[in-house]
Amino acid sequence: MSAPITETPLLTGKHSFSGITAKISGIAERKAPVPWYLALGAALSLLLVLFGSIGFLVFEGVGIWGVNNPVGWGWAIVNFVWWVGIGHAGTLISAILFLLRQRWRTSINRFAEAMTLFAISCALIFPGIHVGRMWLAYWMFPIPNQMGMWPNFRSPLLWDVFAVSTYFIASLLFWYTGLIPDLATFRDRAKIKIKKVIFGILAMGWRGGNRQWRHYELAYLILAGISTPLVLSVHSVVSTDFAVSIIPGWHTTIFPPYFVAGAIFSGFAMVVTLTIIARKIFNIGDIITVNHLEKMNKIILLTGSMVGYAYGIEFFIAWYSGNMYEQFTFINRAFGNYAWAYWIMIFCNVLVPQVFWFKRLRRSIPVMFIASIFINIGMWFERFVIVVSSLSRDFLPANWDYYSPSIWDISTFIGSFGLFFTLFLLFIRFLPMISMAEVKTVLPEADPHHGVAHSRPGGRHD
């Protein structure tokens, strides 16, 4: 679980400590490149679409959405689950790969963690606005009130509130902890007073003394340690929204691990998509190398196979159960009125990742870019298939109905990309998008035995 057999260097080209500082700080210090402004403009326009859609929703009510009876859960829950899932890759990279001492993570973890935070922000919009009277959304929290009411702690929807908000806060703290040394770098490099003050406050007076590092490193390890079960629990809890019910196609025991695998799958695809764009715009292909991308593609292949495994097992057990409702649901998924969505899902999630069996394709930027986008589409459709195909064919045929989204469903979803990309673009412009302190540790000269005769290769982390 340490370094790969063929010890390819983690970074390509020649780097020095100050070179890394200059290169990464430079991104935030120089004038932003033109594509950045164009992208920000597009993102802000989409953000306006989001605000408009939510504004009209507040004014008019959830009737503007395509939800009907029996499909009471439509795009809002699909989008929620999809966005939360995207977030999982960031925590996986920052926490699980840290515990496994995968040092290649240092180039991408900051970036992926930021993506986690923004994806959860987008996700949180949907449960927030779907409640109808959204100004009463605070009722979801256990706040003593004059009615003497409590939220229902036996409901998975409330578990979601706790799981996702804990996830957001813990990810934010983890992200901030990682940022502290880099914020100190920004503080020390700041030329203008106002920047010095802002980064000075954010860096909290970090001095990089080993008396600080020793607490810092343990805090980082602990945060990684608790984020690992947390990230597994979050999508497991999200899966219980469906799985504790008795709706055929939802009530199945494999849901928790299957949702987690799917979340990591889609999250890594999103990281690959964004990384390819960012390394192109900011010319950082020597820090986030093709080797990094290849490793991510391997994880995509692995988690994609897990998702494929779950599809297969679900299908088999639906037949094996002898339960006619289960059997009907799965036949209906594959051949019913939502078969088109099902086959998009199978194509994108099961077939497309198979290209990554081949080393050449795994290392080809265009191939992985296209594949990663397909996977993100496929994972959205997975949630769509789960939510809509099961609900639209309820136990009572008299209730059956077809669900299609309204223009407002679509505009809200597209608008959520505006929020995501706006936050993301601001992040890469103003904060260190790669962890300088951590990337420096993978340089050979960072080893205190570097140049000493009895050098001891091995992990840095405990």
Binding site: S16, F17, S18, T21, P142, G148, M149, W150, P151, N152, F153, R154, L158, W159, F162, A163, T166, I169, A170, L173, Y176, T177, P181, R187, D188, R189, I201, M204, G205, R207, G208, G209, N210, R211, W213, R214, H215, Y216, E217, L218, A219, I222, L223, I226, S227, L230, S233, T240, M436, A437, E438, K440, T441, E445, A446, P448, H450, G451, V452, R460
Partner: protein, 182 residues
Amino acid sequence: MIKLPAGNVLGLLARFDSPAALVAAAEKVRDAGYKKFDCHSPFPIHSMDAAMGLKRSPLGWIVGLAAVVGASSGLGLQWFASTVDYPLVISGKPFFSFQAYVPVTFGVGVLLAATTALVGMLALNGLPRPFHPVFYAEQFSKASDDGFFVSIEADDPLFDEERTTQFLISIGGGNVEALCRD
């Protein structure tokens, strides 16, 4: 805040070339008997704790305690709300359905543990602390870039501006600088 007169030496700062040199220097400073010293580097250096003679951080125990407190208050809240304050039968399940309380119990435990990890780390480090004598040195801005420094504070019992300067030079320190307000 006490205003210190200009020119009052608060400590000494010396620069070293590499992580290896810093570790070697830390061992010598430790062996010379200094207590109030620190080794600054842009990233954590493996084996530095031993070189400086530092024990393992107690943060783990603090966070562990926070996790236990968080999880028990999470469980306690659910027990109180569902069995004492407002008992409701929901889908025929017992008032105290511990199975259903696992996710929230876990969530609250993690929340408190994560918060404690960051806050506890900052508290153990005496942060936030905007002012520190090392910031008087111009060259200290390199400590977050590619500089490796040893700082010895003036209130160390062994500190003597003259002799400590000589000591720092003797162990290979460059750019030895007195830290004072100018």
